[in-house]
């Protein structure tokens, strides 16, 4: 029989996070700090609206691009929160999570041989999606000394004549890094100079702890070059509802809608009704969750400071990214021993790109009680490693 598989797919490495979790499942006392989704339940009024839509029999497909009311509410929301104005009828597409937007955005934009710039460490799916779209991923290694922000120089250095698109993943998973207005302005200048496009993945936008999140689409001359991707998973704790969206120039959204139409039909209807309620009446829920995350973030930073562990202060998402280079082992070794000896699972930075070597991703989408126990164990572990080293 001949090989049933496509080489392009077989060649893609599976995500490296999985193996840890298989071990965790076998350990009753293990604490996982590995999950990348909120620990909060979806706010009740949002769930209620989903239930109500089912009661009323709203169980049909919506239009391919998504419910009109939802697209309008998304436009209101983006205008209110990031000061960018979109035409709901032509410039918005509702997708199955933000992740579908990433996939079909790349497929709609990239020709074979086109280069897409992917700053790393970052979310694990950009690179495989780029490959599946036929593009050539070019990695930009972000640096701790820049607090894992992308600098104009780094961008400039990575650009070739084949470069077409930059993926801009901030606030960042796994580092928690953000890009502030001045950082984005420098990037925008390079983008415009080289006539490039940006795919701005702003799924963690609402989880910004310094100033309010700034979208690169809001900078002069950038809206026409930017696909803005966001969704409901992180801001409203709606991961399981699978709902996100892409906004951008109508030529691109139109082609994305075509792929979405043939591959997906439309995003889940119940989720779309619930999402309308989230956008209309969910600002307070976001604020409450943001406050809770922020307290945990401060708690972890304080814990690292007490154990003398180096960590830049991250102002976004729900991750901290401490440096473990002082122990002279790889991220993978550290994470493996941490799990085996203290039953705490954290994800090695290398799962998010080679430049994550020497770092650990710790998620604080966990209750304070759990984080407290985890930090006690971490302190003990760090002490032990230091003693081992000094011997």
């Amino acid at each position: 029989m001949r090989n049933p598989l496509a080489d392009k797919v077989v060649d893609i490495k599976p995500s490296g996070i999985r193996k840890f979790f298989d071990i965790v499942a076998e350990m009753p006392d293990a604490i996982s700090l590995g999950v990348g989704e909120p620990d909060f339940d979806t706010p009740w009024h949002v769930r209620d609206e989903g239930i109500y839509s089912l009661e009323r029999g709203k169980t049909f497909y919506t239009s391919n691009a998504g419910l009109k009311e939802l697209r309008q509410e998304i436009c209101n929301y983006l205008k209110r929160r990031v000061h960018v104005q979109y035409d709901w009828a032509k410039e918005v597409l509702i997708t199955v999570g933000g992740s579908e937007s990433i996939d079909i955005g790349l497929r709609a934009m990239m020709n074979p041989g086109d280069e897409v710039l992917i700053p790393q460490p970052s979310y694990v799916s950009y690179e495989p999606c780029a490959v599946l779209a036929g593009a050539t991923p070019v990695i930009i290694d972000l640096k701790a000394e820049n607090e894992f922000r992308l600098t104009a120089q780094e961008l400039e250095d990575a650009i070739t004549e084949k470069t077409k698109l930059l993926i801009l993943p901030f606030p960042n998973n796994p580092t928690g890094a953000i890009m502030e207005r001045k950082d984005l302005e420098a990037i925008a200048e390079v983008i415009i100079k080289h006539d490039l496009f940006v795919m701005s993945d702003e799924i963690y936008a609402e989880l910004s702890y310094k100033d309010q999140h700034v979208s690169i689409a809001s900078l002069p001359g950038m809206q026409e070059r930017t696909i803005l991707i966001n969704g409901f998973s992180k801001a409203y704790a709606m991961t399981g509802w699978r709902l996100g969206y892409a906004c951008g120039p109508k030529e691109i959204i139109q082609q994305m809608t075509k792929i979405h139409q043939f591959a997906i039909m439309c995003a889940p209807t119940t989720s779309q009704y619930a999402a309308v309620e989230a956008l209309k009446n969910g600002d307070d829920d976001i604020a409450q969750m943001r406050t809770a995350y922020n307290q945990r973030r401060r708690f972890l930073m304080d814990a690292f400071r007490r154990m003398g562990l180096e960590c830049f202060e991250p102002y976004g998402a729900f991750y901290v990214f401490p440096c473990i280079k002082e122990f002279g082992m790889t991220s993978d070794e550290f994470a493996t021993r941490f799990l085996e000896e203290e039953q705490v699972a954290a994800v090695p930075g290398t799962a998010f790109g080679d430049s994550g070597e020497g770092y650990l991703r710790i998620s604080y989408a966990y209750s304070l009680e759990k984080l407290k126990i985890a930090m006690e164990r971490m302190e003990r572990f760090v002490k032990k490693l230091r003693e081992e080293k000094s011997r």
Partner: protein, 160 residues
Amino acid sequence: MREELLAIIEKNSRIGLQELAALLGQEEILVANELAAMEAEGIICGYHTMINWEKTSIEKVTALIEVRVTPQRGEGFDHIAERIYKYPEVDSVYLISGGYDLMLILEGKSLRDVSNFVSDKLSTLDTVLSTATHFILKKYKDHGTIMGQKKEDEREMFTL
């Protein structure tokens, strides 16, 4: 800092100073001073424990009592409220808008205990016009806490 501080200790009054300061991103001494100030100002009135008595072997009965009273000249409802809240078995007293005036929450050892209080002490006060007693059969949620429910982390391991 006050609002955030109060929100934290309203849910967990036993939190240590060091942790509290870390959560707020403040110096411990500042947080300690703020707590002391709010105690002095009467903003923080006590630190209580939520107990689900149903899970103990101790018998307790809780009743909500609606009370209609005649307000007194110059005193309004304050004087009669004071007469009532001085009874130690009275847990809470609220002045209410609507069909009646005061709402009491009363804790007693038994139904008889509560009914004795109502018939002997409460109803016999001159200014009390009428009472209606509702016994609480089950507490589902109290002070924002769902009683007896410990939620497990159901999130499945995921690859991102």
